[in-house]
C-alpha cells in the first residue's frame, strides 16, 4: 500500500468515525434517532467482534483447521475463558499469548 493511499485510508476512516461520534450530539433537539435504529445499534459490538474473533481462531492460516494442531484455536479457547470471567483485555492477551507460546515450545 502506497503512503498516499495509507493516509487517505486514515482520513476516510477518521472522518466516518467522527461523524458517527458527532451526529446525535449535533442533531439533538433537531431530529430524533429512530427507535429501531437505536435497538439495532445495541448489537453492533457483539456481532462485529464475534465476526472477527471466530475466523481468526478457526482459520489461522486462511484455511479451516479444527484439529488439535491448531494452537491458536486452543489458546483462543483458553483466552475466551479468561475474557468471559474477567472481561479484562490485558489479562486475556497475556493468558492467550502465554498459552500459544507454551504450546509452540512444547509441540511446535
Amino acid at each position: 500500500m502506497s503512503a498516499v493511499s495509507l493516509w487517505l485510508l486514515f482520513v476516510a476512516i477518521g472522518l466516518g468515525t467522527f461523524l458517527l461520534r458527532f451526529i446525535f450530539i449535533y442533531l439533538f433537539g433537531k431530529i430524533a434517532m429512530p427507535e429501531w435504529l437505536q435497538r439495532a445499534l445495541r448489537f453492533v459490538p457483539a456481532a462485529a467482534l464475534a465476526a472477527l474473533v471466530f475466523p481468526a481462531l478457526t482459520h489461522p492460516t486462511g484455511h479451516l483447521d479444527l484439529s488439535l494442531h491448531n494452537f491458536r484455536l486452543l489458546a483462543g479457547l483458553g483466552g475466551a475463558l479468561v475474557a468471559w470471567k474477567t472481561r479484562n483485555v490485558l489479562l486475556t492477551i497475556i493468558v492467550g499469548m502465554a498459552l500459544l507460546w507454551m504450546m509452540e515450545a512444547a509441540f511446535g
Binding site: M1, A3, S5, L6, W7, L8, L9, F10, V11, I13, G14, G16, T17, F18, L20, R21, F22, F24, I25, F28, G29, W36, Q38, R39, A40, L41, R42, F43, V44, P45, A46, A47, A48, L49, A50, A51, L52, V53, F54, P55, A56, T58, H59, L64, G76, A80, V82, A83, W84, R87, N88, V89, L90, L91, I93, G96, M97, L100, W101, E104
Partner: protein, 233 residues
C-alpha cells in the same frame, strides 16, 4: 466558574483508574501498527486521526492479509457504529455548546469516556456535565496518545516470529464478552461469529460485513420475540 473547574477535575479523577487499561491497549495498537509495516509518523497519524483502538486493530489485521482499501474503510466504520449509540445517549448532556465545542467533545468520544461519564451522570445529578465529560475524555485522549507513542517506539523491537498478531483476536474477545449483556446479545455474537466462519471464503473479506449484519439482525429479532412473549405472559 469554580463549579466548572471542580467538575473538570472530578472528570480527570474519574478517568484515572481506567488508564490502567487504556495505556496498554494504546501500546498494543501501536506495536501492531509497526508490525504491519507502518512508520512512526504513520502510526501516530492514525492514532490521532482515527482514535478508535478496536477499529485500528481491525485495519491492521485486514492489512496483514492484504484486503482491499474499501473493505478496510467499510469494516472500520462498521466496528465504530457503536459510537453513534454513545453519541445519542450522551447528547442530552452535551448541549448549549457551539458547533466547534460539540465537534471537539465528539472527536474525543471513546468507549471509556462514555462508560465513565454516563455512570457518573446517573448517580450525580448536580454536575456540569460538559465539564465533567471534557475532563474524562481529554484525560483518556492524552493517556491514549502517550501509550501510542511508547508502543510505536517499542514496536520495532518485537519480532514477527512471536506471533504478536494473535493479540488482535484476543483483545477483541475480551471486548466481545464485555458486550454480552443478555441473551439477544449472545445470539448476535453467535450468529455473527458462525456466519463469519462459514463465509470466510467469500471474496475481499465481504463475509465479515455480511456476518456482522446477520448478527445484528438476529439479536434484534431475538429481542423482538422476547418482548412479544413478555407481553403475552
Amino acid at each position: 466558574m469554580m463549579r466548572m473547574n471542580e467538575d473538570f477535575l472530578a472528570g480527570v479523577k474519574g478517568a484515572l483508574p481506567i488508564l490502567v487499561g487504556v495505556i496498554p491497549f494504546a501500546m498494543i495498537s501501536s506495536v501492531a501498527a509497526v508490525s504491519v509495516g507502518l512508520t512512526f509518523p504513520e502510526a501516530m497519524g492514525m492514532s490521532v486521526i482515527v482514535f478508535a483502538g478496536a477499529s485500528q486493530l481491525v485495519v491492521f489485521q485486514l492489512m496483514s492479509i492484504g484486503s482491499p482499501w474499501i473493505i478496510m474503510v467499510f469494516t472500520a466504520w462498521v466496528v465504530n457504529l457503536r459510537f453513534s449509540m454513545y453519541s445519542a445517549t450522551l447528547a442530552p448532556y452535551l448541549q448549549k455548546l457551539s458547533f466547534w465545542q460539540k465537534a471537539l467533545l465528539a472527536y474525543m468520544l471513546s468507549d471509556q469516556a462514555f462508560g465513565v461519564s454516563l455512570g457518573y451522570f446517573l448517580v450525580n445529578k448536580k454536575v456540569n456535565h460538559r465539564w465533567y465529560y471534557f475532563g474524562v475524555a481529554v484525560t483518556i485522549w492524552i493517556a491514549w496518545q502517550i501509550g501510542a507513542i511508547i508502543g510505536a517506539l517499542l514496536g520495532a523491537l518485537v519480532p514477527a516470529s512471536w506471533g504478536f498478531d494473535f493479540a488482535f483476536p484476543l483483545s477483541f474477545m475480551a471486548l466481545m464478552f464485555a458486550a454480552l449483556s443478555d441473551s439477544p446479545t449472545v445470539i448476535a455474537a453467535l450468529v455473527g461469529g458462525m456466519t463469519a466462519v462459514f463465509a470466510k471464503q467469500l471474496p475481499y473479506n465481504t463475509g465479515l460485513v455480511l456476518a456482522t449484519f446477520l448478527g445484528i439482525a438476529s439479536g434484534y429479532f431475538a429481542e423482538s420475540l422476547n418482548t412479544k412473549s413478555g407481553v403475552i405472559q
